[in-house]
Symmetry: C2
Subunit: 148 residues, 2 copies
Amino acid sequence: MGETGGMKVHRMPEQPCFALYSAVNAITRAYRPLLQPLDLTYTQYVVMMTLWEQDGVDLRTLAERTLLDPPTLTPVVKRLEAKGLLDRRRADDDERRLVLTVTEEGRRLQREADEVPEKMLCQVGLTPADERKLRALCGQITDALAAH
Amino acid sequence: MGETGGMKVHRMPEQPCFALYSAVNAITRAYRPLLQPLDLTYTQYVVMMTLWEQDGVDLRTLAERTLLDPPTLTPVVKRLEAKGLLDRRRADDDERRLVLTVTEEGRRLQREADEVPEKMLCQVGLTPADERKLRALCGQITDALAAH
DNA sequence: CACTAATAATTAGCGCGCGAACCAAACTGA
DNA sequence: TCAGTTTGGTTCGCGCGCTAATTATTAGTG
């Protein structure tokens, strides 16, 4: 077996990054049937939820809030516009800025999507304490890596 | 603001799933420069590390170990074969099974990749205790969701 | 006022990640 | 033996997620 001597053995299941990676894959899989009735992907859901909280913002701001890049978001918001859930308009004072506004239809969807977080949390089955701990750890990782 | 009365307000940053989602995006971003010298993507790295631990397995087994689907893995292992890192052969006793074996070149890469986990862990900056806790929580989520 | 630099978004190209449909090899049983 | 089923992989189609390059608009400079 280990004929290579001094080299450290790394096993995938022991890597915390792999644990996160697998958990996220499982989560997006689990969200699919929950979001299918709303005709949303998980990323589209993230964008809509962000805009439900505050809309009338430009793409750059949306990118900062979702922690995604503009090239990722451009096709996403185009699809959401095609579904009639939001408006994409250039700002009056600055033609470069793209202002995103939730439509009436988008607000209707917000009410439909109201129970999604509870359903999801229920499937995940974490205690409130574990949930808080998990958020804290993930936030720590995200912040540490964002600071290059 | 909240004129809609009884509806619960959900904020994206408070969703544990979003915290995981963002952390994983940050992680794959952080892995990119680390894996670029090895000419590997994160998923390719996951596959190689899994096969470094034990090769000579079929695609189905690899799928179970990586928690990824066969349709995801087929193009990945083809690219790894094209790079000369592994062999794809049909099993002698069962033509359906695709047996994956790490090549000499693939073993050489293993030695090169030896320090990647340490470098990554260092950037993430978790204490060993937090790291264990995070693995446990993610494992719990993955298991709960895998059980439908 | 021209000319450059900075900024906001988009496009191009690549590699996942997955559900659905498909195909061929292997097993099953009357 | 030979339909019928199961099994292991592949193919197809779609939607991210990102880097690099491009376009268009605005701001800044002499």
